[in-house]
Amino acid sequence: MEVYRLIGNSLYGTALRILGREAEAEDVVQETFVKFFRKASSIGRGAVSSWLHRVTVNRCLDRLRARKRAAEDELDESAEVLDGPGAGTLTASPVERLDLERAVARLPERARLVFLLHDVEGYRHREVGEALGITEGTSKGQLFRARQMLRSWLEPEREAAG
């Protein structure tokens, strides 16, 4: 469990930022470590920390897709609108106090994920593209869009002056 102590916070942070829900983030971290336990013997040649982060991110993206599908089903059945990714639950979480987090939660889904993966998690555009199924160019465009939107929300005075 030394690996957990070294990287558990980081994996949990990644999952929480992407999913915006603490309980789901905990589930993802648990699933990631179980997968690591099962696959440990075949991970040797890659980087363990990168592998763990990649699995965490992929699990989160799977959950977002499932959430989207569920929301669509709900809409079909009862026209009930579910929360957007991270909305609501993120507001109640302790880390929500920061303006940046609130602003990121307001971003359109794809721009939000590109910003999180690139600027927060340190992915390169090629890796962002692979994770989200988009081109590098789209990733760059979405990142610029995300940063500009965040800038307009977080620094309106500076932007007006600029």
Binding site: M1, E2, V3, Y4, R5, L6, I7, G8, N9, S10, L11, Y12, G13, L16, R17, E22, E26, V29, Q30, F33, V34, F37, R38, A40, S41, I43, G44, R45, G46, A47, V48, S49, S50, V95, L98, L100, E101, F115, H118, D119, V120, E121, G122, R124, H125, R126, K140, L143, F144, R147, Q148, L150, R151, L154, E155, R158, E159, A161, G162
Partner: protein, 225 residues
């Protein structure tokens, strides 16, 4: 360069592109403000990464989940080997004794041209172990050289004169290197105690390789900035 081109370069992963964007910003007030805003956002994003702490109960929960998992095949095999009378502690003396026995067998029994399969297998294990140790020593030597070259660059991460994007990247590298150092120390200590634990040796080599790659990336960043 046009301001539209600047917008593409400012989000590029290539340090040379960002350098070009920075040069354009020196001549364009609007783009300079955009560049500064993006740099501030990147810094805040990086700080956010550091800020989150997992709930206290999560480690216990993960431990419980792992305890319920069936033991993976490789670990099971190792456990079975140990239960069957592990010869780890006696590997070297056993190998010498095995060599002696093989020699005696060859001398006394000329019709047997090869050592018994079991002894041959053990000798191969000893040989493989020596090769693994040599590879690890080689990695450690290469890393020491790279570390020496990268140290001044990593030291610039907190220098206020370093461009914020580069400083952010250097801090991220330093963070990953610290993680790898602790992993290497932990696995190396375990390997010292259990030299025949193949999975740990693979993990150790992977950690060495990753550290080598990161140090090379640091040096590459130093060349472009």
């Amino acid at each position: 360069m046009s301001c539209a081109e600047f917008e593409l370069l400012i989000v590029s992963d290539d340090p040379a592109d960002r350098e070009r964007a920075a040069r354009h910003a020196l001549e364009c007030e609007l783009c300079a403000a955009t560049l500064a805003a993006h740099d501030r956002l990147s810094e805040r994003a990086f700080e956010w990464r550091e800020a989150v702490r997992a709930p206290r109960g999560l480690e216990r929960r993960v431990r419980r989940a792992l305890a319920e998992e069936p033991v993976p095949l490789i670990q099971r095999q190792e456990a079975e080997t140990a239960a069957a009378g592990s010869w780890r502690r006696w590997r070297m003396p056993a190998a010498l004794a095995a060599s002696l026995l093989v020699g005696l067998a060859l001398g006394w029994l000329p019709f047997r041209s090869e050592p018994a399969p079991e002894l041959a297998g053990r000798l191969l294990v000893v040989e493989a172990l020596e090769e693994a140790k040599a590879a690890e020593r080689e990695h450690a030597r290469a890393i020491a050289r790279l570390e020496q070259a990268a140290a001044p660059l990593l030291g610039r991460a907190r220098d206020p004169e370093t461009r914020s994007a580069d400083a952010r990247r250097l801090l991220a590298y330093a963070d990953r290197l610290a993680f790898l150092d602790s992993t290497i120390a932990e696995v190396a200590a375990f390997v010292d105690e259990n030299p025949g634990h193949s999975h740990s040796r693979v993990t150790l080599l992977a950690a060495y390789k990753e550290k080598t790659e990161i140090l090379r990336e640091v040096l590459a960043l130093g060349e472009t900035s």
